[in-house]
Symmetry: C2
Amino acid sequence: MLETNPPKGLRDFFPRDLLLRDRVFSAWRSAAELHGFLRYEAPVVESYELLARKAGEEITDQIYVFQDKSGRKLALRPEVTPSLVRMLSAGAGQHLFPAKWWTIAQCFRYEKMGKGRRREHYQWNLDIVGAASILAEAWILHAAVTALGRLGLGSDDIHVHVNHRQLLAQALHELGVPEDGHPAIFLILDKKDKIPEPALVEMLLGAGMAAPLCRRLLEMMRIGSLDELQASPLGQSAPAGQLYQLFAMAKSLEFDKFLSFDFGIVRGLAYYTGVIFEAYDVPRKFRAVFGGGRYDTLFQRLAGTDRPAVGLGFGDVVIGEILASRAGFTVPALAVDVCVGSFDESLTVDAFRVASQLQQRGIKVDLAVAVDKPRKFFAYASKRGAALAVFVGPDEIQRQSVMLRNMQSREQREVAIAELGANVLQELKGRGEG
Amino acid sequence: MLETNPPKGLRDFFPRDLLLRDRVFSAWRSAAELHGFLRYEAPVVESYELLARKAGEEITDQIYVFQDKSGRKLALRPEVTPSLVRMLSAGAGQHLFPAKWWTIAQCFRYEKMGKGRRREHYQWNLDIVGAASILAEAWILHAAVTALGRLGLGSDDIHVHVNHRQLLAQALHELGVPEDGHPAIFLILDKKDKIPEPALVEMLLGAGMAAPLCRRLLEMMRIGSLDELQASPLGQSAPAGQLYQLFAMAKSLEFDKFLSFDFGIVRGLAYYTGVIFEAYDVPRKFRAVFGGGRYDTLFQRLAGTDRPAVGLGFGDVVIGEILASRAGFTVPALAVDVCVGSFDESLTVDAFRVASQLQQRGIKVDLAVAVDKPRKFFAYASKRGAALAVFVGPDEIQRQSVMLRNMQSREQREVAIAELGANVLQELKGRGEG
């Protein structure tokens, strides 16, 4: 028996699945292009060393690792940022900075399987490298919101929760947590929405934080708006100032309605240095739609170059679930302009010639390679989602004509082969307008 | 020091590389769609068992294998056909047969490195599954020739060498080679063009063939045209008849000029059963452009279903080399419709607003996130390949206007922000026509 499932956690994309996925990919693509990003693609296999150098421990545990035949340690990438750093560091002077680059990268994580968890997803990555200005954050968020718009999602559907890593750092600092203890605390706080508060407190205590400080930290993290932030002891800090600036830009561009300040957003990865954000569906039924932030030190650490950067990762799985959960959601139907079929073997060349003639006008044609009676052929054309069907029969061909059938109205008529192209274009046009 | 090269044999695609690759991918895509094929995508990682079940030994040696954490043996696919069999065998009754499916699949082979050899390539796959008619071969070749046409390649550039596996089998049969000895001979003959004849004879003798038979076999393989075939002892055989039929179809569709009979085409893989073909550049400077053929028994062997099938694989590397070698070949330039920049921080929000206003008309805008003097900004816009540049300066903004510069003609003028969108569209249109 053939195992017809793909390997555990990996996905097959059948033709209909790709029509759905294309909705998302093309929204991503057009938003990236409208915002002047350049597309790149890195190998799905990278050196393990590169990936491990960038990643926190949590991720290196989850990498699919293997050796090539020379003993090189390779891995299926869990993320594309290390490759971006590598590629932007190649060929000195070759790239224009600030660089705005985008890609759609399949990323692999060997995670525990659970509802909606897969071991692979496609991730839209947008990065602006070489820009310290908060304008970079605003431009990336504007692109993400544009992509949501192309998918029919507005601020009633998706909210972007924004925070600043230095604001968190400052909070920890004021509580007396030394800086080298911050990454461990960030990793714990990142789980805030996933585990109950008592367990969270346990973990913080375990990380060496005193109980009263724990309580004060969790209290701080309940600051729920920029106004509350402004009124708080952190309100006059530089990171708070950057957030005010970002929100003001968003306001003047009229996408501030998508944004809200959320002190609870941590982003587990140690490498963020500035503004961080995560987008969720408003009812919070799903996992994060996208996330990202500023990482000003990664290029320095990996490549020795000073390149402040902002990035965003937007996966295909959660957005797919959200779109599928919406009222009025439809699974797209497979379609083709015209199916061409013939009655018997002696007419296949005529059918082929008719098909080719239509193609030359840019019409998408499926040639039914099996010959059959009209009824069976029309059944095939219907299942195939053809708008029109052309049948080459023995009587019609004597008159240099064929049968043209509108699959929706079921009307059919005999049409001269010489006039078929024009007739088909006319019918397709009528259908587009109807 | 950061290693900036990708792992050995794998490719980075920089923005310019993707513009080149997109030429090929979009030719493939449009040819597949014009011919009514449905797109699918299988995981780049498959179970080793599936891949090994299908493949000949030569390939299983070259598979990148690894184990997942439960000890499952997985592999980077060397080809996509096993996945196609798996997917078309999933969900009984779910798929329409004959099925015409296409994909562009990245495939990995751990090969010895050499000129033009890589360990990874993208392969366009077209398959028609469930059709015994020679019309399937013709339809697939027509699609391939259509893709070549979209790339500006005609029959003066590329030739498709066509043979029939049963014709070879019949030749071996007449020479008294028992059928279970055929695959080994096919594998040797497949190397015919790569190694000198004496070495080939050595290998055939090594495979147990007597010297006079070797000579007669190599002689037969010099049959150079359908006419010579017709005049030969094999001329009246059933496989020869199928070739005549295929070439007659091609003739009536006017793509016979691309095809030539070539008894030397073997296709190493044991699984072919009927018509086989390989396309080469006419001067034979490069490796095969595409190849394929009929494989009527694979579904039976892997999935237990009787599904005659024809397939084609067309890689991105050789066609890329051929296109790059042609006179008049140009590396595409990076481009964007408009770059928007501003003089200082106080004007960034205005620049952003102008950019967003242009985007709403579908104009692709790169916002220069670094603020600078006009000269530096225009230098950036030029390197970025912008058709137009919009500069937001302190004087113009007072008059609610900006500077619009045509990057080609270097003409610039002040334009009111309210009229900018219309002006930009006008200039872009004029450029398209110019």
